[in-house]
Symmetry: C2
Subunit: 321 residues, 2 copies
């Protein structure tokens, strides 16, 4: 499809069209690239391609057609499946990528596993960027993600234009895989502890009889504030636990944080405590709710209820009320 | 001293000229008020008065001359001493304040104790504002503190102009004492947990081999950020543990948080864990260092050292280096 007089323009693919991956694929398309996509839910990929781009039936078929493959799947097991999975009958993406192509790994994973993956792919002639993402669904949709990346100069050389199209900020942390994932792990440590701390603080204030709205107003303008307090306690105020990021994500991510530190025998007292709080929430049946639902582990408090106007949107019969 | 044709202008006093109280007294003076001051270190009060205002030898003598007395002392025991202490031979400030005068209580204390103090002072005809402060020394000096206040309309009526002169933001949380202190306790819960979490996260990153400056740059632009991470980890990066707020302040304040919840049998897992971390730091001899020194409880990591240029400022012999 390329003009024979010009060098072929690098092509990009995205595997995993969840809330984050879909926003990133759209950002690439909006930047003018011909984007190939694959998702286990084939209708999601086809729906994306209706407005431009190409849907592929397997990661391997997609890999064979692109120079840079961006993987936006949930965890290391899914990355293994994408790259080396046999289920599709095509042997996975790693063996179908052309020599010199780049896999951009956007999942939150054990840094040691990510560092090892660089070597495994190098053995197949495939380059690798350790590139976890942060920023949430809204920023993914707006092309304003933060990426925490590390890898070889050769990998960056090919992937850079695509990273810039998907992200507001690309941190380049070094020339070996693992550093990006290490920084992401530290970020998740703080994010998880801050959500649990926000829940603990808000629960104490409500228990003590402080109006929740007043507490939110003061704390978000004081030294006790955090990005997560401001963001997640707004969900608690609204009584809306629709999962933007679920309790079970932090069961997983704080588990990764603890797993990453244990081989070094490094103590993480707050991470361990916060992890237990998310486990308690999940064991109570809250694993699929928004992570701010960790506040529900605190007994004997009256949490804010959804505003009548919001409830009526869910229950049309009440719309006239 | 007032013109007989005009109603007397309300007079204000400040007890306790530590870093916070001194800034607040200066802000009142800058706003044009004649400020009376007292401090146990009489030379500090006299030095303040040299540029305007009046130094008093005892809290009682000061109380007898003012309509609004602002108490900026360390804890409840010191408030008791100021208001009811017999040590000065004048019986303390509470009995010397004129009927209708207001005591503005700016310390961080048990909310139940603060609520009870309102009643004790009412028995002496003295009004009361529960008015803990937040924002640090720099904001105190600039008149840009946050005050978390509650109390009667009569108390506000007299104190309001002075509150506005000392503060960037005055939160008015209700008509009974205790609410201000409850919100302050929640803020201290978050502040203490966030400092300890920042230390834990930074320690893990350094242990994993991430350059501390890069980690700070990424986290302060990501969802893992907090006001305290951004503020306190700058001290760690500089290797400067000069106490702006000391480890032992959070030994005290997280202790207050836990004490406030225990009568309600309310669990605070993260606060309890963070309190243990500050206790460990204090027991290791770090109680007088900046609270960010809680990072030193993590063994086996190489913390950033002070920059040579900063060291040379302390050691003039090296200034030429």
């Amino acid at each position: 499809m390329n003009d024979l007089d010009q060098p072929a323009r690098p092509r990009v693919g995205v595997v995993g069209l969840g809330a984050m991956g879909l926003g990133m694929a759209r950002s690439l398309r909006a930047a003018g690239y011909d984007v190939g996509v694959h998702d286990l839910r084939s209708h999601v990929a086809e729906e994306f391609a209706r407005d431009g781009g190409t849907a592929y039936a397997s990661p391997g078929d997609l890999a064979a057609d692109v120079d840079v493959l961006v993987g936006v799947v949930v965890n290391a097991a899914q990355v293994e499946s994408v790259l080396f999975g046999e289920g599709d009958g095509d042997g996975g993406a790693a063996r179908r990528l052309r020599p010199g192509a780049v896999y951009v790994m956007c999942s939150t994973v054990d840094p040691a596993w990510s560092a090892a993956l660089e070597g495994r792919l190098a053995g197949l002639g495939v380059r690798y960027l350790d590139a976890p993402i942060s920023g949430g669904v809204a920023r993914a949709a707006a092309g304003e993600l933060t990426m925490m990346t590390s890898g070889s100069a050769e990998a960056y050389a090919l992937a850079d234009p695509f990273l810039d199209a998907m992200s507001g900020t690309v941190y380049r942390l070094g020339d070996r895989a693992g550093l990006g994932s290490k920084v992401k792990i530290v970020n998740q440590l703080l994010a998880g502890v801050h959500i649990a701390a926000a829940a603990e603080a808000m629960a104490l204030g409500i228990k003590a009889g402080v109006p929740a709205e007043a507490l939110y107003e003061v704390i978000t303008h004081s030294a006790g504030n955090s990005w997560m307090f401001e963001n997640r306690m707004a969900h608690v105020l609204a009584g809306d636990y629709t999962p933007l990021s679920a309790v079970d994500i932090f069961v997983k991510d704080l588990g990764l944080v603890l797993d990453a530190a244990r081989p070094e025998k490094f103590p993480l007292p707050l991470s361990a405590t916060a992890h237990q709080m998310f486990l308690q929430a999940s064991a109570s049946g809250l694993g699929g709710e928004d992570d701010s639902a960790v506040i529900k582990i605190f007994p004997g408090i009256d949490l804010p209820q959804p505003h009548p106007a919001e409830r009526s949107a869910e229950h049309p019969a009440e719309k006239e009320a």
